[in-house]
Symmetry: C2
Subunit: 282 residues, 2 copies
């Protein structure tokens, strides 16, 4: 069974393999209207761990692998991102990365579960540290409803969702993607977490089939995430007009580079090179 037991946090995917982490116990466990929210105190270099319904969301020790990639790859493709929407992402890591870009005037965090935000502010302060930034507007509400009424409002939309099951399910539909597209300003870009290429092949296929119906430009980029299934993760890059690697914001690069543990220009340029098995799937 997944979750904490007898000194270990364990999470096995339907593929039959997964991660195991030495742990001291559960620091926080609450049931919200949407899911079980837990903070596990690992006895490892990963530090504290956020889980939702016994699925690992982020760890203090490796969170930068995910948050730098979901934020900077699309942000650096935009000439002047001022207005950014983060859907999900209640841990705050994506907001923290977005706010490294000085052009940003407003980042809206639309997270359905207020308990996730509370737990992360208390237990994961290095991740949630920018949630009180005055440029960050936190909405505890359903992004599916929120996005229906937004037209021509955001330069960047980042879909930092859970997996396509439970509360995140409605974030993987053609209707939702269409509303996301309509919320973009001209030259806008969407990035969306899109599961593990090695483990979640059928989920990825379904997701990209829908995205391609909605966005004229739909690409994929990947990077290593030590604690996610297969150690390897994909994000969708979608836009009506901006092609992958067609623009790089050199004017913001030095500022971003010096704060990042992974992200740099060479790494950025390398992200859209995919393994054969993933190219064939998409």
């Amino acid at each position: 069974m997944n979750g904490y037991e007898n000194g270990y946090y364990k999470e096995i995917t339907p593929s039959g393999f997964g991660i195991c982490i030495k742990s001291k116990g559960v620091l926080y466990s609450e049931q919200s209207p949407f899911q079980k929210v837990e903070i596990i105190d690992s006895d490892s270099t990963l530090g504290k761990i956020l889980t939702l319904d016994d699925l690992m969301m982020t760890t203090e020790g490796d969170e930068f692998h995910y948050h730098e990639m979901i934020a900077h790859i699309p942000m650096m493709h935009h000439k002047c991102p001022k207005s950014v929407l983060v859907i999900g992402g209640g841990d705050g890591g994506t907001v923290r990365e977005v706010l490294k870009h000085k052009t940003v005037e407003r980042v809206v965090l639309c997270e359905i579960d207020g308990l996730v935000i509370e737990a992360c502010k208390k237990y994961l302060p290095t991740i949630a540290c920018e949630l009180d930034n005055p440029k960050c507007e936190i909405l505890v509400e359903d992004a599916i409803e929120y996005i229906k009424h937004k037209k021509n409002e955001f330069d960047i939309v980042l879909i930092d969702s859970t997996d396509p099951m439970g509360p995140g399910e409605g974030l993987f539909t053609e209707e939702f993607y269409t509303n996301v597209k309509n919320s973009l300003k001209e030259g806008g870009i969407v990035a969306a977490q899109s599961e593990s290429p090695f483990v979640n092949k059928s989920e990825i296929k379904k997701m990209y089939d829908l995205l391609k119906k909605v966005f004229p430009i739909t690409a994929t980029y990947t990077s290593n995430i030590p604690t996610y299934p297969g150690g390897y993760w994909a994000w969708a890059f979608c836009s009506e007009t901006v092609k992958p690697l067609s623009y790089f914001a050199d004017d913001r690069y030095e500022d971003i580079l010096k704060t990042c543990k992974i992200y740099n220009k060479d790494y950025h340029n390398a992200r859209f090179a995919l393994p054969n098995y993933l190219k064939e799937l998409l």
Copy 2:
């Protein structure tokens, strides 16, 4: 404890986290003069697993992630690799990839432990399938001794070793690397597995400090390996004359591409782009 127990194969690194695989049991377990050799029958998409002293070496389901990278990245940098030495690599996966290159006339496999070869031929035939190829010369002996007497003999040397402890320890010394360099023909290239950038930072640092003393050109490339610590692995690329990405064997590319699950030219070109934390370490 690492190894098979109660329906799971578990392997936790000193960092306090690792992999857990549903398993049906141990198919083969023998103690050689060098190490404990086991084949685990996983109950997962990874299929059967080779472990040495309770450390995962390869699995049927994800072995191509490792073998394509250790072989094709250096091989495709060489104009005409005829003579190749594989050190370690008793499972045969690296030999299988090397023999996809039609220029190769001879590949020497120098593996210290004959039991590894026997077990893999019997239990992992999709990996060991080319060990009986007439171009493959198998030597069950210590590569440290073997390489001392070789001068100007190999176009490519692939160090497909275990970790820098136990029988693999002597494969991580300045003397060994010097002998490897001397075994190369003009224009020769070495690739060596160099541990997990996220988990084995001190081991990587030590190894590259030695390699840089010996080889004028020492670079690093990385790729995803689902079952290795952190899901992310590094290889050293060393030569006296050949720089990374200075040559690509277009004449052999179509043949290689069609047989690979990961390797392609874009992926090849992207491999030397490293995360900041690894660049700073090296």
